[in-house]
């Protein structure tokens, strides 16, 4: 067990961080918000923690809380100008937001270290901490799923006009979705900077955006299992495809196309849906046989 852990530790850690970022991306998509701002939130959290941890003496856990709060607050504010945008327009606007954050990090050299980033961040985060934070995150998301907020998010994603005809304040719930997405992005960004020793703006660029979107699209947009399956595939794929060396990217692409074509809801969501359908079919069968029994009694 220990040997397994040591050999695969970097992959496990990468997996856990991807799950966290995946949830940040997912909560927005789930509420019908086509935001790809997670990269920006992650950068904010990550830099906030890195700067506070290297330049001040405040306790590490406090830096993470501040980083999370900063990204959440920025998320809430970002929701306001984007309130009227939907779909592709929302995606482009949030992409612009990420660009703004990245250029601020690049040009704020005195503060952020510019293109070289920040080095010497204390390595305070390990697999167990990541695991614990992912578990707490899942618990909160599970609560959302079973509460009125989860119902509202599902309604907004599927048919906005219905939600508003039933009294849902769309703007308010989009703000909540952005705040939650910001908080999760900032939280895991902060953890990442306390894990990697060094960060630079480049870490949160286009590759990051594509990776996190892939996690959610491969895994699933609505279930807790979604980002886990997505991140698992993204973490294991390079290992499995190692012999293919430079063709790895091509294999990634092919797998993505196959999943989108044949499992459009994502691997994780499809698994959950399959179990749900099976349960429904059983209940149906049970009801049918009960009815048959009743009919048999009444005719005899």
């Amino acid at each position: 067990m220990m040997q397994f852990y040591l050999a695969y530790q970097p992959i496990i850690d990468f997996f856990l961080l991807s799950v966290g970022f995946g949830y940040s991306q997912q909560i927005a998509l789930r509420a019908g918000v086509f935001s790809i701002a997670t990269a920006g939130f992650a950068a904010l959290g990550s830099y906030c923690v890195a700067i506070l941890a290297t330049k001040t003496g405040i306790p590490i856990f406090l830096t993470v809380i501040l980083g999370t709060a900063l990204a959440a607050a920025v998320g809430g504010v970002l929701a306001l100008p984007l309130a009227r945008l939907r779909g592709a327009f929302q995606a482009i606007a949030t992409l612009a937001f990420v660009q703004i954050i990245l250029s601020l990090l690049l040009y704020g050299e005195g503060f952020t270290g510019g293109a070289l980033g920040i080095v010497g961040i204390p390595r305070e985060v390990n697999t167990w901490i990541l695991l614990a934070v992912v578990a707490v995150t899942m618990y909160v998301l599970w609560n959302i799923g079973r509460s009125g907020m989860g119902r509202v998010f599902n309604a907004l994603r599927q048919e906005e006009s219905v939600a508003s005809s039933l009294g849902v304040n769309i703007g308010k719930y989009h703000i909540i979705a952005f705040i939650l997405s910001g908080a999760l992005g900032g939280l895991f960004g902060g953890l990442q900077s306390l894990y990697t020793f060094q960060i630079e703006p480049h870490n949160y660029g286009f590759a990051f955006i594509v990776n996190i979107l892939t996690v959610v699209i491969l895994g699933g947009r609505t279930t807790l299992l979604g980002p886990i399956m997505g991140a698992l595939i993204m973490a294991l794929l390079p290992e499995i495809a190692r012999p293919l060396a430079e063709n790895r990217q091509a294999v990634n692409g092919v797998i993505l196309i196959l999943v989108i074509t044949f499992l459009p809801n994502g691997v994780g969501d499809e698994i959950v849906f399959w179990f749900r359908r099976r349960k429904q079919a059983r209940q149906q069968q049970k009801r049918a046989s009960e009815k048959e029994a009743r009919d048999a009694v009444s005719t005899s």
């Binding site: 618990y139 909160v140 599970w142 609560n143 959302i144 079973r146 509460s147 009125g148 907020m149 119902r151 509202v152 599902n154 309604a155 599927q158 048919e159 006009s161 219905v162 939600a163 508003s164 005809s165 039933l166 009294g167 849902v168 304040n169 769309i170 909540i176 609505t222 349960k279 429904q280 209940q283 149906q284 009801r287």
Partner: protein, 254 residues
């Protein structure tokens, strides 16, 4: 129980007067009919009442409180619910989940207690589920509770919409062609439910172009043609009105 008033309401799209000078009252405990041929402006009236479309002129009030400038969700929270002419369900959600969202404005738990899964959030969900099952039984839909709403037959989808609209016990319900595409048995079942709802004190506005269904159910009927109110009164007076007959059958003899 409050009633709904439309006072000289108009909706103009540029030079086109889709609805003009419409005045009507929807009283509690009654089913009020709004009929008219296709394109008469019936759905425009519903969309103005429910806050989807802004008024060009006039005022809409519930018990003296104006709804005229409210957003759709604010109108809903003031107790005015609606169904849609083209059925709008949450297609991926089950029938039960579709009904549950109808309880939204009765939610009491705060955002924070929902995030933390506190008892108040769980109580909300439990309370709504119990009431949702009552509704499912009343509409004889309990066998379909776990079905994805998008896969249901047309008549059943209509019922899901209806359950969702009345879940939060609104004062006023706007029913936009609720029996379109249903057979006689199905529409009779719904007629019974509409009567029960009215008897419980709700004010129902029934929008239809099927005159027969409306005359059987309504005490007061308004007739809209080309955006204008051409007649109003009891079903008998309205259906014998020459203008109404002309609007429905046409005057050029085809």
């Amino acid at each position: 129980m409050p009633s709904l008033h439309l006072d000289n309401v108009a909706k103009h799209f540029g030079g086109l007067k889709a609805v003009d000078e419409v005045t009507m009252e929807v009283r509690p405990g009654e089913i009020t009919g709004l009929i008219g041929p296709n394109g008469a402006g019936k759905s425009t009236v519903v969309n103005m009442i429910s806050g989807v479309l802004a008024l060009t002129e006039g005022d809409i009030t519930v018990d003296g409180v104006s709804l005229a400038t409210d957003r759709a969700d604010v109108v809903a929270r003031k107790g005015v619910a609606r169904t849609f002419q083209n059925i709008r369900l949450l297609p991926e959600a089950t029938v039960l989940e579709n009904v549950l969202i109808g309880f939204h404005r009765r939610e009491e738990a705060s955002i924070l207690s929902q995030l933390l899964g506190l008892p108040s959030a769980r109580r909300d969900t439990q309370r709504f589920e119990e009431k949702a099952w009552d509704l499912l039984r009343r509409f004889r839909m309990e066998d379909y509770a776990e079905y994805e709403a998008g896969n249901l037959a047309y008549g059943h989808q209509r019922r899901v919409e209806m359950m969702r609209a009345i879940a939060a016990e609104p004062d006023i319900v706007l029913l936009d062609e609720p029996v379109a595409g249903m057979n006689d048995v199905e529409s009779d079942e719904l007629a019974t439910i509409f009567r029960e709802l009215a008897e419980s004190g709700m004010a129902l506005l029934l929008i239809e172009h099927n005159v027969g269904f409306v005359t059987r159910l309504c005490k007061q009927v308004y007739v809209l043609d080309s955006g204008r109110m051409i007649a109003s009164g009891s079903p008998e007076t309205v259906t014998s009105d020459p203008q109404v007959i002309a609007a429905y059958i046409g005057t050029s003899g085809h």
